[in-house]
Symmetry: none
Subunit: 227 residues, 4 copies
DNA sequence: CATGAATGAGGTTTCATTCAT
DNA sequence: AATGAATGAAACCTCATTCAT
């Protein structure tokens, strides 16, 4: 997680109320940016949403660009924290590995398919060329971080003989891909809400395929695959 | 492919040169939109890129919004055509299924990881909330179309006993996810160029996992998976 | 005189009406800048004065700064032309040199003490640090130009034996100083209108002193002066 | 010298430190106004330059306008004092009048050509229309004051038979004009530094002309001049 | 049909100024 | 008395869009 206030303009003696207002502005900013996109969103609207005067926004966060960066950062950190908490649970998978993985998968999907997550993803995609540094920020603590955490679990499970992966990172990458790919496709880029059933369906399918591939020692098929 | 000229202003007897100019404008539009994003792009710049006066743009495509829609549509159709052509090749996989799938996967990745494709994807993500109809347009002939075409191939291969899928559409969805997920992650949302080697690596990994899951009859693992 | 349109943004095929509008904008700009000063003047007001929409101003002259520069330039050229025309008359001074010089001096003062001239001078003084290039523009064709023209006349008069100057340029500089210095002081930096009588008084005094110094061959006083 | 604290807000028993702070603010104000011009200068910057918080500026000097007025006043008084001190020296010119006048002229030029003087002059010129009262303030104790002081000296010298002026005020006005006119022209409105040599050159030339005009009894040239 | 010119609306940003501490 | 924070107003500039030519 990046320190929340990397680009803060406020001095070190910022009072309590000031921080509250800052947070309100950042929340409002994310809301409005999510709704309108970066270029369409106007600071006036953000200020209104935060119930603050326009210059106050500029006092706290110097730029529209800076405002954007910070809002994204906060949202990304939040999403990231949720993701990692879910993955943490895999440390003690219990007897039924498939059930545990499905549970994890479902919970990840719930994070991933939340409105805020979609909005974040859309904004990142939209502005990545104009804000390339956001990637460092978000991914340094982003998907990769979650992927690596998951890879850690998979490595442990492999050592415990319950999974058979030669490349845990790749396995984690693919596990996530099996979840997010279909979710993205079916939710129409996050435009359509996915029902709980739909999410469970995706998670179940992903875990089934994942375990067919990595749940047993590779046989001749694997032999064939590696040739 | 969607009818190219949904909202055209021109009469039915449009001359040859007129159509050329229209195409030039749409090309320019996609270029500029891709570079600047929808809201940032300005019609003046598009006109300049197309070497046309601004009102000419308005004569051919009534709106900035319409201009965007049409430009996206053309780009999406092109991408779509490429995708389908690649999938078509799987009809005759030859002896080595793994090699054939890897080849297909690699070619799909090449489409998917082209600059225009990334730009298209970014624009879609960015504007999907403000242009929801683009999804119908693009996906009616979009990822789903490719997914279904791939599902068709997988169904045939299953009938031929070379693949073992109970749900070919899901398999196709997952095949594509195993390709695009890692590509997206590693290329940083299309920001970083992926080398040919990187693409091959992704394709190989995807196909290996895919075949471990679907390349052989399911055993007790599968039984466990379905419970 | 500088070519009037040094920094023009308009293309070479500018139509008649366009030029008219450009001139109207420049006139309005000078009026407003003169009234409000550079920083205080707002483009909206200039546009209103020119009876044009604000963007039209930006179409013709790209910047507020550019607008200022061009407006100043036009005003300076005009003033310059008037000055030179007056000085030209000294070519044929007639019998009564003092009368001729006084006439020239009075006419120069009338130029110098016009509202536009004062405004120009105030704007130059005010903005010379922020627009240092204006000096090149205005003085390349500015006071110096007039000074030199006057020096030419004085040189001729010296050759004709009617004046006795060893350094005509210095004499011209001093002649002008004897006019403008008192005018500036008495008119309170151009704030107070100087009556025709007041102008005549200044001109008479300047010419009397000038002729006392340069109207006769230097005697022992000059010898003393040079020591 | 005008009473320094015309519009002071502070009570009569203001403490020592308070006055110091006030002075610091006024100094900072002049510095910033000189650098940026009145409209461009912002109070925040002045406060920063004075190492004070913005509201403190408002506590001491109620307005931006008032701040300007007071800053100008202080600067003008300072300049004025220097000028008068120089002129005072002419009371005992010594044997060599020309040397004495040249010395005085040079010293006046040094005052006149100092950075602060030019800045003051630029600010006055720039804002005289928006702060007409500054003229009363500055000139009541301004150029006129110096002119009159100089006129007093010239009157005495005339009585002593060393100068021949019928109108000492006009002579003083012209003496100053012969100094400042060329200085202004050559220094490009104070933009270019004038070297000590350049200043001496101007002073020498001015005094020579002045003495040619007023250093000896008028002859037929004078007769002609008055006709 | 294509274009140069014009416009109305709106966005980011800055600034002088005032509260509450 | 001095300061951090907040605000209303306004300025520069850009853009999508429409007339005449």
């Amino acid at each position: 997680m990046t320190g929340v206030t990397t680009t803060v303009a406020s001095g070190p003696r910022a009072s309590r109320g000031r921080i509250d207002k800052r947070q309100a502005i950042l929340d409002a900013a994310f809301t409005v940016f999510a709704r309108e996109g970066y270029a369409n969103a106007c600071v006036k609207e953000i200020a209104a949403e935060a119930k603050v005067a326009k210059p106050t926004v500029y006092n706290h966060l110097s730029d529209k660009a800076n405002l954007f960066r910070n809002a994204i950062e906060v949202a990304a950190d939040t999403a990231q924290t949720e993701n990692l908490a879910v993955i943490e649970q895999l440390t003690e998978p219990g007897d039924d590995l498939q059930a545990a993985l499905t549970d994890t998968g479902l919970k990840l999907l719930r994070c991933y398919a939340s409105d805020r997550s979609w909005a974040l993803r859309r904004l990142l995609y939209a502005e990545v060329t104009r804000f390339p540094d956001l990637l460092e920020t978000v991914r340094g603590s982003g998907t990769n971080r979650a992927t690596e955490a998951l890879a850690d679990r998979f490595a442990r499970l492999t050592l415990g003989g319950r999974l058979h992966t030669t490349d845990p990172t790749q396995a984690a990458e693919q596990f996530i891909a099996l979840l997010t790919g279909p979710a993205e496709a079916r939710s129409k880029f996050g435009t359509a809400q996915l029902s709980e059933d739909a999410l469970r369906d995706i998670a179940t399918g992903a875990v089934r395929t994942f375990l067919m591939a990595f749940g047993r020692a590779s046989t001749e098929a694997e032999g064939a695959a590696t040739r």
